[in-house]
Structures are given as structure tokens and as C-alpha cells.
């Protein structure tokens, strides 16, 4: 089953528990920071172009997109907070 299918959040919520998901969020954040900072960023900072665009541009936007998709998936899988959830009274 592809992870982005509609049923994926139920599947994930059942398979992965909350502390694990929060851990995954932390890892995603730290990994994102590492990937866009030297020295790791230099790994993809080669003088090559793909379709005329420098590789590093591709790389940075790809990391960026991966972070967005990763966060969206994790948020869908993460069960909601208590009803309170710090709701501001209207």
C-alpha cells in the first residue's frame, strides 16, 4: 500500500505509537538541519548540472520538499491531542 494513500494514516497510527512518531519528528528536524548545513551539504555541492540547473539547487529544494512531505505524513499519523489542546476561548 503506498504511504500517501488515504488509508495510510490509519495504517500508520496503528503501526507506530505516539512516542515513536514524536521521535521521528525530532529526527526529521535534526536531519533536515544537518542536510542543509556544512559539511553534509558539500556532499551534493558538486559542479554538475542536471537539465542545466546546478546540482546543489536541486538538492536543496529536494531536501526542502522531503521535509514538507515528511512533516505532513507524520502529522497525519500522529493522534490528536486531548480535546483541550489549548484551545483559545472565543
Amino acid at each position: 500500500m503506498p504511504m500517501w494513500s488515504v488509508r495510510s494514516d490509519n495504517y500508520w497510527a496503528a503501526a507506530v505509537d505516539r512516542p515513536r512518531l514524536i521521535g521521528a519528528m525530532l529526527v526529521l528536524t535534526l536531519l533536515g538541519a544537518m542536510l542543509m548545513l556544512p559539511p553534509l551539504v558539500h556532499v551534493f555541492n558538486q559542479n554538475i548540472t542536471h537539465f542545466g540547473v546546478p546540482q546543489i539547487v536541486f538538492y536543496l529544494f529536494a531536501v526542502w520538499l522531503a521535509l514538507i512531505i515528511g512533516t505532513a505524513l507524520l502529522n497525519r499519523a500522529l493522534p490528536g491531542d486531548a480535546p483541550d489542546a489549548g484551545k483559545r476561548d472565543h
Binding site: 542545466g52 546543489i56 484551545k87
Partner: protein, 899 residues
């Protein structure tokens, strides 16, 4: 052909549209709390106010000048939103609980509700944001001029007006608009649904405009590949070799701090947040928005550099490229997009700042200088609104003046980074507020102030370099010629990028001060309370919001507090006594200062003096701590007390268990020693007869010439010794069987006197042989006890033989008597021998104890008394050594009478 007049008319029309959107947005939000204005989408779009004209115009210019660096401004916030669970969620939760209205309010409330800190943060924000506002003014001015300057016709009525005049006009217009927009009424929660609606609309407009320009550029340029290849062919390439240096790291870090601490970002992300779960959507949608905004920045920059004439301002490529290709409609759309990004920033930033100024600077002054109870609520509201209007004018004026003084600098992005560095000074304190319990008010204040001073010196001041020869001189030589104080080379740290240099020094000083001062200062009681409220925000249960306690305390409020802390009974007693003393009904008790003092002392006994004082002073004077919060404090203290009591109880139990274990261990050690003792005694006892048996049998074997008489004697001795050995082993077996209770035992009705008589009869020979005189005292007569007759007789014989054997008196006497003593049958066997020394009295019933007086005595194994005692105990009786009628020892056997 576009003209400046047309642009300005369009801009005014656009502002009018915004106003309409805000008006209806407000009405809609009020009438329907479930409208789409409360949706995560609108929330996300409002956060996109982060993308200002810095993004719309400045990013292109930045990309044209320094390549990829522009993305750090969006990657930093992306990281913050990807990690929303750890920082933003906490920030939103705390701010909702604490009802924070701004970052200044947040810091002040965390650090002991200090107004001084709030004033400091507000002042720094106002000064620090000035370059950012100037950036927007500059962008709008440049964009109008870019259109107007392109032709004689374009100038229109702007002919003869320079950029300063234009910027002033824009600033004034913005001030007017923001005042009309944002200060129509004072909202207790400081939420502005109408404004948020307009901001969200503007976010859509600016994204659409930039995407339109980007797609157009890619289309005209023949696709991404063609644009990049053409740029590369002309020597314009993305400089990636030197991009990832300290500047990359610095701008990334500054943008992380800015997305959290910028007043307008705090306002939209935290204050305007109506549901924490909206963050879930925003956490990916806002980064996605920024990604879309950044997507075409590089192509636009590259294409602009290739196609535009030399000397064209790269900041304006998004506007000038469509114009250069004759696309006036698209150029107008781009202008509206840029105008949108500028107006949304200016509106929201000045509203956020004006709230800070009015709440933290103007309001406390009003409260201090106007007599209490004077004036109604209406007057205060009007005063507050006027303070905000004044603040907006002040903030835009500061922005305009900054623009005026630095108008010669051409790039947009560096101006924004000056503001980012200033705002980043709040970030360490915000992090400490959320995560570090020990951070203190003094530390936060001095850290922010220290960082700010370094910012002024290293970042703010150098930006006036181009307009002021004095500043230029200062930069070159340092103040009074002190080289190590040069603003861009502090302490001789030369050759660094000025931004990196300023950020490094200001933030280093900031963080170090925060950490070190926190370690050496003490927190006040209120600071400690607030620190735990902040740090433990997710550990406590949902907070029930109650009414705020205002005005003087009523007996009800005090009782409510007292009952929670002291318990119902004590609180009621306290209040009853007070009521009786003042002679009123408990319901109508009017709390006097004396009574409150007494109550405070009572409370201090339970929760400590500091907490009691804070609680009562809050109830009594009326403040923004609600009664519910105080109750929570009391509950927490109660929980801590209970917990510590449980701990105490547990540790007492542990102590007692340890003591029991120690005792058991001692007993075990003693038993072990006795076992060893016993074994060595047994070996010894066995060895003596064995030795004589062996030696006699050796003689018999080896010596052939011994006489018959001798042989008979030797064999007799061997026989005797083996008998003794057998008897000893029998006794040991007997004793161990008795001790382990192996042998079947039956206590039958027995005539005890008969047993005693039989024993005396058995011992008669021994008596006569040793010349002991037997005295028979009173006898109990026929008595029936539950016992084993033979065994009882054995006990008596043992005692009698002992008394005969160890009696070394010149005229030995043995006295036997029996009686009924305290309901039991007692036999006393006494002699006038040496008696038992005091130190041996405990030991004589032990196995192999024969008494020290007769070490050479080998006639008994020393098991007699031990066996006797075991036997008597089996018959439910006792055998003990008592003070006897004679000078020697006296053993008493006591057996219960048979019922």
C-alpha cells in the same frame, strides 16, 4: 504603458479592497466562530506574512548578488515548523494559558511578571524593527520609481518628487491605513480576525503574482535549462563554492530566531492561533508556501542578470522584467504583489508593536500616574487606542527615518538581516523561558540588554556608514582610536563578514550572560512559580479558566484559598473564630488586614511563607493571576507534600526491614559459630576414648609378652571406653533427634512423685559411694502430670548425678524437695557444692558445657543438662537454675499439673 499615477491609484484601490475584506472578515468571524476564517488554511496564509517585499523583491536581488544564500531565510523557518511539536506547540500552549499578547508579554510573564523586562523587550523591538519597516518603504518606493522612471510619461504627477518624498508619502499613507485598520477597537484577546483575513488574502495575491512572474520568465527564457545555460554561458553562474560558509549558518540561525520572535510572527502564529491543531497543517503548509515563493527566484534573478542592462537594480527584476517585455498587465500584477507583501508586513508589524508599546509602556505609566478609581473603563479604552495610534505613527516614523538616513544603500536583504539580528536577541531568553527552569529575570534582562548593545554597536551603527563621515571614521579607526573596539572588528576579530561578526558577538554575549547570571542569581517566588508553569505546561492537567479576581478580596475568595490549602475544617474554624471576634455572621465577614495577616501565617505553615504571601497578595490586591491558577499552585504543593510523606513512610519501612535483616544475620552468625563449636566439641569428645582404645589395642597386638592379667585389664578398658563412646554417640543422636523433634513423643498421665522416687533409688549407690548426705524436704504427694515417665526419671537422674558428681564440699549435702508452685508441680534439687558462676549461668544448658571449674573432668560429655532441658520442654515444662536453699546450685524442674 504604466504610469506612476495609475500605480498609485491602483494601490489605493487595492487598500480599499483590503479594508472591505477586513471589515467583512471581522463581522463574519464575530457572528460565526466556525467560519473558514478560523480554518488552518487561513492560519497558514496569515503566517505567510513572513514573506514580505524582502522576499518578493529582495530575494531576487539577493539571488542575483550572492546566489543561493536567499533560501536560508526560508529554510530556517522550515526547520522551526517541521519541528513544531517541540517549540511552537509549547509556545502556543503556554501563551494560551498565560494569555500572552506579545513576545514581550511572554518573557515578562515567565520572568516574574516583570514590567521592566517587558519595557526593555518592547523598546528593542521598536528600534530593531525600524530597518525592517524601512526595507518595505524602500521596496515600495523603488517599485513605483522603477515604473515611473522608465519613461517621461510614467512620472506623471510624481515628477519633481524624490524618493524621500515618495517614501514619506507611503509611510504616512501606511500609518493612516494601519490606524484605520488595526485600532478600531481594543480586543481583550488581541485577536484581529479582520486583519488576519486581509493578510491571508494578501498572501494569496503575492504568491500568485510571484508565480505569475516566474512562469512568465521561464516561458520567455525558454525553460529552466535554457535560462541557467544561458546565464552560465554569460559567466553568470550560481556561486556554490563559497555559499556554505559561516554566513550561510548565520542567516539560517537568524531566520530560525526571527520566525519565532518577530513581533508580527508571534502575533499571527501564537496570539491569533485559535486552535493548537492548526499548527499541524501550518507545519507543512507554511514551508510549502515558502518553497513555492522561492521556486522561481533563481530563474528570475538569472534571467534578469542576462537580459537587463547593466546597472539595473536586481531587487526590482520581478517588476522590471515583465515591463521590459512589454507585459504591462503582468507588471501591474507584480507591483500589486510586491505592494501586498509590503503592506501586510507593515500593517501587522506595526499593530503588534503598537500593542506591545501600549500594553507595556503606556498602560503602566497611566496606572502609575493617574489616581486609582478615577475614570471609567471607557476612558481607559480610548486612552489605549490613542496610545496605539500614536505608537503606529512612531514606529512608521522610525522606519522612515532609518530609510532617510540609509537611502544610499541599494540592496534590500542586508537591511532585513540587521533587524533579524536585533530580534534574534530575544531568542535565547524565549528558549530559556520555555525549557530552562533556572533562568532568572536578572539573567534574561542583562542578556537581552547586553546582546542589544552589541547589536547597536556592531550592526545598527555601521549601517549609517554611507551617510555619516563620523560613523565611517569610527568603523575605520574605532572610538578614540581604540582599534579593538572597531564595530566590525571587535576585540581584533578582523576580516569577518560584518553580519556574521555582529551576530556572533551579540548572541555570544547574550547566551553567556543568560547562562552565567542565571547560575549566580536567585529567582523570586513569583519567578519560580511562573518558571514551573512554563516548563511543566504539558505535565499539568487542563487548566479550568475562572473569572479573574479583581479589586479587593472578599471573604469568599479568601475562604476559597484557605479551604484548598488548610482543608475544610481548619479553614472553617479559622473563619468562624474571626467572625465571632468581630461579632458578625460568618457569611458577612469583612476581611480585615489583621485577619489576612493571620490567614497568611496559617497558609505559610502549610505551603511556605513565599507561596502564601504571593497567593494572598494576589487575592487581596487583585491581579492577573486567576483564582484557578492559585488553586492549582495549592494543589501542586499538596501533591508534593503527600508525595514526600509517602517517601518518608517507605523509607521508614525500609529502615525497619534492614534492621530485621541485620538481626537475623546476627542470629545466623551466632548459630554458625555454635555449630562449629559443637563439631569441635564432638570431635574432641570422640577423640579421647578413641585414643585410649587405639593405644591399648596396639599394645595387645604388638606386645606378645604381656601377662594374662594385664591383657584382661586392657581389654576391660577398651570395653569401657567403647561403652562410653557409644553412650556419647547415643546422647548426641538423642539430643539431635529431640531438637529436631523427630522422635514420636507422647505425654501420658504420669505420677511424677513416683518417677522422682525411682530416680532417687537409682542414685542411692552413687550417693553412698561419694558420701553425699541426702536431705529430703517436703514432698508434694501424689501428683499427676502429662509426661513420659521414663524420660522424666532420666531428667531427675541427670540432675541428681550432676549434683553428686560436682559437689566438692567437705561435707557434701544434697537436698531434694517437691511442691505445688503457682499451679504447677516443681521439683528442686539443691546441693552445697561450688555453685554455678554468674557468667556461666546462661551457658550450662548448652551442649558440651561442663563449667570451667572442672576442665579435667571427663566423666560426662556435658550433654546432660542440654538433653534434660530438651526433655522437660517436650513435657511442656521448664528446667532452670534458681537460688536454692543451700549455698550451691539449685535446679528446678517445673511441670504443669494435669487438669
Amino acid at each position: 504603458m504604466l504610469s506612476a499615477d495609475f500605480l498609485i491609484a491602483t494601490a489605493i484601490g487595492y487598500v480599499g479592497l483590503l479594508f472591505v475584506i477586513a471589515y467583512f472578515g471581522d463581522r463574519r468571524a464575530r457572528s460565526n466562530t466556525r467560519s473558514f476564517l478560523h480554518s488552518p488554511a487561513v492560519y497558514t496564509l496569515s503566517i505567510s506574512v513572513y514573506c514580505t517585499s524582502w522576499t518578493f523583491y529582495g530575494a531576487v536581488g539577493n539571488a542575483a548578488r550572492s546566489g543561493l544564500e536567499f533560501v536560508t531565510i526560508y529554510l530556517g523557518p522550515t526547520l522551526v515548523f517541521v519541528g513544531w511539536w517541540f517549540l511552537l506547540r509549547r509556545l502556543v500552549r503556554i501563551s494560551h494559558h498565560q494569555r500572552n499578547t506579545s513576545v514581550a508579554d511572554l518573557l515578562s510573564s515567565r520572568f516574574g511578571k516583570s514590567n521592566r523586562l517587558a519595557v526593555l523587550v518592547t523598546s528593542i523591538a521598536v528600534v530593531g524593527i525600524a530597518p525592517y519597516i524601512a526595507l518595505q518603504l524602500k521596496a515600495v518606493t523603488s517599485s513605483i520609481q522603477a515604473v515611473a522612471g522608465s519613461s517621461e510619461f510614467g512620472q506623471g504627477s510624481l515628477a519633481g518628487i524624490d524618493d524621500v518624498g515618495l517614501a514619506f508619502g507611503i509611510a504616512a499613507g501606511m500609518a493612516l491605513f494601519t490606524i484605520l485598520f488595526g485600532t478600531r477597537h481594543v480586543d481583550a484577546k488581541e485577536q484581529h480576525h479582520g486583519v488576519v483575513a486581509a493578510i491571508a488574502f494578501e498572501a494569496v495575491v503575492k504568491l500568485a503574482a510571484l508565480l505569475a512572474v516566474g512562469i512568465f520568465v521561464v516561458y520567455v527564457g525558454g525553460g529552466f535549462e535554457a535560462i541557467f545555460s544561458r546565464a552560465a554561458a554569460m559567466g553568470v553562474a550560481v556561486d556554490a563554492a563559497n555559499t556554505f560558509d559561516s554566513r550561510w549558518l548565520t542567516t539560517l540561525a537568524l531566520s530560525v530566531a526571527a520566525i519565532v520572535c518577530l513581533p508580527r510572527q508571534f502575533q499571527v502564529t501564537v496570539v491569533e492561533n485559535s486552535d493548537e491543531n492548526h499548527l499541524r497543517v501550518a507545519s507543512w503548509a507554511f514551508p510549502a508556501y515558502m518553497l513555492l515563493m522561492s521556486l522561481f527566484i533563481l530563474p528570475i534573478a538569472m534571467f534578469g542578470l542576462v537580459t537587463m542592462p547593466d546597472g539595473a537594480n536586481p531587487d526590482m527584476f520581478a517588476l522590471t522584467l515583465p515591463m521590459a517585455f512589454g507585459q504591462d498587465g503582468l507588471a501591474l500584477f507584480a507591483f500589486i504583489g510586491g505592494f501586498s507583501s509590503a503592506t501586510s508586513m507593515i500593517i501587522l508589524e506595526s499593530i503588534a508593536l503598537s500593542i506591545m508599546v501600549s500594553n507595556h509602556i503606556v498602560m503602566p505609566m497611566i496606572l502609575r500616574f493617574s489616581p486609582a478609581g478615577n475614570g471609567d473603563g471607557q476612558g481607559v479604552t480610548r486612552l489605549l487606542l490613542n496610545a496605539r495610534r500614536f505608537s503606529i505613527v512612531l514606529i512608521l516614523s522610525l522606519g522612515f527615518f532609518y530609510f532617510f538616513f540609509t537611502r544610499d544603500s541599494d540592496a534590500l536583504a542586508p537591511i532585513g538581516l540587521i533587524s533579524f539580528t536585533a530580534i534574534a536577541q530575544f531568542f535565547p531568553a524565549v528558549l530559556a523561558a520555555l525549557f530552562w527552569r533556572e533562568a532568572s529575570l536578572k539573567a534574561a534582562t542583562s542578556a537581552i540588554a547586553g546582546g542589544f548593545l552589541f547589536w547597536v554597536w556592531c550592526s545598527f551603527l555601521p549601517s549609517f556608514q554611507s551617510v555619516s563621515p563620523q560613523v565611517a571614521n569610527l568603523l575605520a579607526n574605532g572610538p578614540w582610536g581604540i582599534a579593538w573596539l572597531r564595530p566590525e572588528a571587535m576585540f581584533g576579530l578582523d576580516g569577518m563578514d560584518p553580519l556574521v561578526h555582529a551576530a556572533f558577538w551579540s548572541l555570544t554575549v547574550n547566551v553567556l550572560t543568560l547562562a552565567l547570571v542565571s547560575l549566580v542569581t536567585r529567582q523570586s517566588a513569583l519567578e519560580r512559580i511562573q518558571a514551573s508553569v512554563f516548563v511543566d505546561v504539558f505535565k499539568r492537567g487542563p487548566l479550568v479558566r475562572g473569572n479573574f479576581v479583581l479589586g479587593s478580596a472578599t471573604a469568599n475568595d479568601l475562604y476559597f484559598v484557605a479551604e484548598r490549602v488548610l482543608g475544610e475544617r481548619r479553614a472553617a474554624a479559622l473563619f468562624d473564630v474571626a467572625a465571632r471576634e468581630s461579632g458578625v455572621d460568618p457569611d458577612q465577614l469583612d476581611p480585615t488586614p489583621e485577619f489576612i495577616g493571620r490567614l497568611e501565617r496559617e497558609l505559610a505553615g502549610s505551603i511556605g511563607a513565599a507561596s502564601a504571601h504571593v497567593m494572598l497578595s494576589k487575592v487581596v490586591s487583585g491581579s492577573d493571576i486567576s483564582l484557578e491558577e492559585m488553586m492549582q499552585m495549592a494543589d501542586e504543593t499538596q501533591q508534593v507534600i503527600e508525595y514526600s510523606q509517602q517517601l518518608e513512610q517507605t523509607s521508614a519501612e525500609l529502615r525497619s526491614t534492614a534492621r530485621q535483616l541485620e538481626e537475623a544475620n546476627g542470629r545466623l552468625r551466632e548459630l554458625d559459630a555454635r555449630k562449629d563449636d559443637f563439631l569441635s566439641q564432638v570431635s574432641h569428645e570422640v577423640r579421647t576414648p578413641m585414643t585410649s582404645i587405639r593405644s591399648f589395642s596396639e599394645i595387645l597386638l604388638d606386645d606378645s609378652d604381656i601377662t594374662d592379667g594385664q591383657r584382661r585389664h586392657f581389654v576391660g578398658t577398651i570395653h569401657q571406653e567403647s561403652l562410653r563412646l557409644t553412650k556419647l554417640l547415643d546422647e548426641i543422636l538423642d539430643l539431635s533427634a529431640l531438637e529436631r523433634g523427630e522422635r514420636a513423643w507422647e505425654n501420658l498421665p504420669t505420677n511424677a512423685e513416683a518417677a522422682l522416687d525411682r530416680a532417687l533409688l537409682v542414685c542411692e549407690a552413687a550417693l553412698r559411694q561419694s558420701g553425699v548426705q541426702l536431705e529430703t524436704g517436703s514432698r508434694a504427694g501424689a501428683i499427676t502430670v502429662a509426661a513420659d515417665a521414663d524420660r522424666l526419671c532420666q531428667v531427675f537422674i541427670n540432675l541428681l548425678i550432676n549434683a553428686i558428681r560436682y559437689n566438692d564440699a567437705p561435707a557434701p549435702v544434697l537436698r531434694v524437695q517437691s511442691s505445688i508452685l503457682a499451679g504447677s508441680y516443681a521439683v528442686e534439687i539443691a546441693d552445697n557444692g561450688p555453685g554455678v558462676p554468674t557468667e556461666e549461668r546462661k551457658l550450662i544448658f548448652e551442649k558440651f558445657s561442663r563449667g570451667k571449674r572442672s576442665p579435667a573432668d571427663t566423666r560426662g560429655a556435658g550433654l546432660g543438662l542440654a538433653i534434660s532441658r530438651q526433655l522437660v520442654e517436650r513435657m511442656n515444662g521448664t528446667l532452670e537454675l534458681v537460688e536454692g536453699p543451700l549455698c550451691g546450685a539449685c535446679f528446678r524442674v517445673q511441670l504443669p499439673l494435669r487438669a
